[in-house]
């Protein structure tokens, strides 16, 4: 927050940090090379189609079904990751137990593991003959080649983000206010809902947004566990690959543009929510 007292405002508004010019140049060059140019190429390729062709490529019933699978599974996975990520972060920060540091280190494993490996291992576990599948499939729980399977691997790849974002906020949480709340007669539930939760909610939302973004972009693990059945478990990136196989670059990018548009809108909404919450809690 800037100081509002006019006495402290320097007349030329110089930045306290030196080297604005060079750091801005490096930053803009990097963003250009890594983000803007690829996105511009994406837009250009898609723009080589006319509006009707674009719709014909990107808005077929099959494509709409694939967007629904992609968005639905990613949202579900991000919600699960946020809730369970909060729990894991809570345990890691507040409870001291043997093996805590090991568990803390294990949280990052999904970030390092090639996700195709995760997809293969999960599907092998949950098929009818698999270690878990042989008990779950008779109960009607199909964890491989199903929508549930997609959610499972998406939780796997997105959980670290949900945990790592909430963890430092929990660590820096002021315990005095919790104690004060308890001494003033608040119940445990009240303390959590009215003292702790408002403080960590913005971080939980940030974790949710990161988990969602990660899940939406995932391809490697999903193709191995989803079964890729059109209209049921086919995610949008698989459709993109199908169109590339036909050397239909423009049509493939059209689908990519729609998926990107949906993802960005979702992230913007989450971001807006997060800012509102942050403002209200001040």
């Amino acid at each position: 927050m800037p100081a509002h007292n006019p006495i402290f405002r320097s007349p030329r508004r110089r930045s306290v940090l030196p080297g604005f010019g060079i750091s801005a140049a490096i930053t803009s060059l990097m963003i250009t090379a890594l983000v803007i140019v690829p996105l511009a190429v994406l837009a250009l390729r898609a723009a080589s189609l006319g509006p009707t062709e674009f719709l014909a490529a990107a808005w077929t019933p099959r494509a709409r079904a694939a967007y629904a699978v992609s968005l639905g599974a990613s949202l579900t996975a991000a919600i699960i990751s946020s809730v369970s990520g909060l729990l894991v972060a809570w345990v890691l920060v507040r409870i001291d137990f043997p093996g805590r540091r090991l568990l803390d280190a294990l949280v990052d494993v999904p970030l390092a593991l090639p996700t195709a490996v995760a997809g293969l291992v999960y599907s092998t576990l949950y098929v009818e003959r698999g270690w878990l599948g042989r008990y779950l499939v008779p109960l009607g729980i199909h964890g491989a080649y199903s929508w549930l399977g997609i959610v499972l691997v998406l939780v796997f790849v997105s959980l670290p983000f949900a945990i790592r974002v909430v963890q430092p906020v929990l660590e820096s949480l002021d315990r005095d206010s919790e104690e004060a709340a308890r001494m003033l007669g608040a119940s445990r539930v009240q303390t959590f809902l009215q003292v702790i939760f408002p403080a960590i909610f913005p971080a939980v939302l940030t974790g949710f947004a990161l988990a969602l973004a990660r899940a939406l972009g995932e391809y490697g693990s999903v193709v191995f566990i989803s079964g890729n059945m059109p209209f049921k478990t086919e995610i949008a990136p698989v459709l993109i690959v199908s169109r590339l196989e036909e050397f239909a670059y423009a049509e493939a990018t059209a689908i990519a543009v729609v998926l990107l548009g949906m993802s960005v809108s979702l992230l913007v909404i989450v971001n807006w929510l997060q800012q509102r919450v942050a403002r209200n809690s001040q």
Partner: protein
């Protein structure tokens, strides 16, 4: 991890800088892309070739490369090393088009090589450069079943039974999947069925396909390691690998007739002229037609082109199978791609909620 980095546009000043940089990058990219082919006719002392191929030929080309390197050094005194690249055929084709420096391409389907030709990297007559339309070996689509063939699957008609589930990769993303689809269609037609009968047959077949893997090797894992499905449709040479790996839990069934799989090869003209590797690259593909090359090909259960092909092993014979080719199924590949695998084609219709007959 700063999420805002991603979501908020930077200040207008840095945005303007970004636009300027973007224009500069674009301008420099346009001017620097033309290249001139080196016209040197002198052959160097050592040559390196890159063969861009598809998944199931890994083992084949490991043996071919070793044999060819020896052969070429004896004949011409030049040492050759051959590098290999394997992935799904379609994505390999795109990689070459986008600049992967291949000297030769040995891909799964005609459209994959033709796409490289259309990009200008091959001369349009690439098909006529080697015998048999530049197809040095072929394969057939066969059935892999569980040991003892418990469901008694003997021919294509058995795949129409309700109790049979089938594993085959997605024909939209896999060359192996395309051939299996075309084999099923062709088999229905060859047995005297109409177009409608063929469509009913493939629709029923794919409705009992519980998983559509994106590539051939993933489908093999689904069938052999995860134990899903009763029949796996795949190339003969891939079926042999799968059965050998399974330690006796799988076996091959030859249907009465099947499609002939024709993987073409080509020298990438633009690349070999620039790198001055044409002589070695042409000799490399020519080697596939030599007696030594044919013997190695046969050993890997691919059927070499030409009269009296060598057997896969001494004392063995090639199992007899009636074959039809793409001409019988669809006229030509362009037609097949459009009719069967194009957007809104026969394959898409199978999955329309109320279509597909």
């Amino acid at each position: 991890m700063n999420r805002r980095f991603l979501l908020h546009s930077s200040s207008s000043r840095t945005f303007a800088q970004a636009i300027v940089t973007l224009l500069l990058v674009a301008a420099s990219g346009c001017s620097g892309s033309s290249s001139t082919p080196g016209g040197s006719a002198n052959r160097p002392k050592a040559v390196e070739l890159l063969n861009v191929s598809y998944d199931p030929t890994r083992e084949l080309y490991r043996d071919i490369n070793a044999a060819f390197a020896k052969h070429y050094e004896q004949e011409h005194g030049t040492a050759v090393t051959i590098k290999q690249s394997h992935a799904a055929s379609g994505s390999q084709s795109r990689a070459v088009i986008d600049g992967l420096d291949a000297d030769v391409v040995t891909l799964a389907t005609w459209p994959d090589v033709e796409a490289v030709a259309k990009s200008g990297l091959l001369r349009p007559d690439w098909q006529n450069r080697y015998d048999n339309n530049s197809i040095p070996y072929h394969s057939v689509v066969v059935f892999v079943v569980r040991k003892g063939n418990p469901k008694n699957v003997l021919d294509w008609a058995d795949l129409d039974r309700d109790d049979i589930s089938i594993i085959t990769p997605n024909p939209k993303t896999s060359g192996n999947g395309k051939y299996s689809f075309l084999a099923a269609w062709g088999a229905a037609r060859a047995a005297g069925g109409s177009e409608d009968d063929a469509q009913k047959f493939v629709s029923a077949l794919y409705r009992r396909t519980p998983v559509l893997d994106t590539g051939a090797r993933a489908a093999t894992a689904t069938f052999s390691q995860k134990g899903i499905g009763d029949v796996h449709l795949t190339f003969e040479q891939e079926a042999h690998l799968e059965v050998d790996e399974s330690k006796g839990s799988l076996e091959i069934v030859y249907p009465k007739r099947s499609i002939r799989v024709d993987p073409p090869v080509a020298v990438v003209d633009q690349n070999v002229d620039r790198k001055a590797t044409r002589h070695a690259a042409e000799a490399y593909l020519g080697f596939l037609y030599s007696p030594e090359g044919r013997a190695i090909i046969a050993k890997h259960h691919l059927r070499p082109w030409g009269d009296s092909p060598p057997p896969p092993a001494a004392g063995e014979t090639w199992p007899a199978i009636e074959t039809f080719d793409i001409t019988f199924v669809a006229g030509d590949w362009n037609n097949a791609m459009k009719k069967f695998f194009g957007e809104g084609g026969v394959f898409d219709a199978i999955y329309q909620p109320n279509g597909g007959k």
